[in-house]
Symmetry: C2
Subunit: 152 residues, 2 copies
DNA sequence: TACCTTTGCATCGTGCACGATATAAACGCA
DNA sequence: TGCGTTTATATCGTGCACGATGCAAAGGTA
């Protein structure tokens, strides 16, 4: 049985892929109330932490490219959650900042992380397990982003 | 700072989401050689394990709905990797089975899992860590799929 | 200053994901 | 047997992801 590793149950990527999709889906009821999607929520988070960011700074924080973020930011601008303006010092850059409407969603978003972490804690999984998992994922993210850079 | 949990660095879902995307991207060079995508690779895996499966059986194994799988399977049929036929015993069901071409890709796929697990093992992360992470993810998947069922 | 390269962002095409909905076959039960 | 309900699959619309490519501004260098 030398193809045992090919079985679905042996693969690491599949649980990662499924858990990610399902957890994102668990966010949905809360994000629906705010009228946004999960990737849009991520953009709000980094802009709640930083008054203004260039598109490039957002790509670095969220590990998404401009071909994903440009249309997404345009949709959010149309929803009046944020503004996009060319930088005056560097005409190539586009500066993104939240509108009052975008800022005001922060209060509504505050209880979300707490609600979701409660779903993820069980008899067998405590908070320190979750932190350890996060550390592993972050190390993988570091490796995998470095890999990509090496290819360029 | 009562909104500390709202920070990107505090969230569990974001590392899950990023690691999943990046790991899938790491598969790409190998899957490109076979002319398939990651979700198509998952379909092949379950069909290498089972001679024939209904669309419904595939949705259960991959946790994807028919609205995702139907077009995906059609693309794979057009690529002559598999065949779709209505069941004779239950005309509602569509039975999916691999063509010789689909079966033959198995040999090419064999070395892939080994190559990728090597990327994920580091000074700080050994095989038992990975197994533990898989167990946690599988427990979450169980919880989150049960949650969805409860909503229906 | 002319020119080549890099950088920042955007557009295009393709393939997922997924909620909402449609449709036909099968089932259950009065 | 008739008929409402469930089940299996498919279609449609929208929003990501992402590789390939384009383009203009900025930077570097002879």
């Amino acid at each position: 049985m030398d193809d045992a590793q090919l079985k679905l149950s042996s693969q690491v990527c599949f649980p990662l892929y499924s858990a990610s999709r399902l957890l994102t889906k668990a966010y949905k009821p809360y994000l629906d109330e705010m009228g946004i999607t999960y990737p849009q929520y991520l953009v709000l988070i980094v802009l709640w932490e930083n008054d203004e960011l260039s598109v490039n700074q957002i790509t670095e924080k969220l590990l998404l490219n401009s071909n994903t973020l440009s249309p997404l930011l345009k949709r959010m601008e149309k929803m009046e959650l944020l503004q996009r303006n060319r930088s005056t010092t560097d005409e190539r850059s586009v500066i993104v900042q939240l509108t009052e409407k975008g800022k005001s969603l922060k209060d509504q978003a505050k209880p979300i992380p707490d609600k979701l972490i409660k779903v993820l804690l069980t008899e067998n999984i405590n908070l320190s397990d979750v932190l350890q998992l996060k550390e592993m994922l972050n190390e993988w993210i570091k490796i995998l982003t470095e890999d990509n850079k090496n290819l360029e």
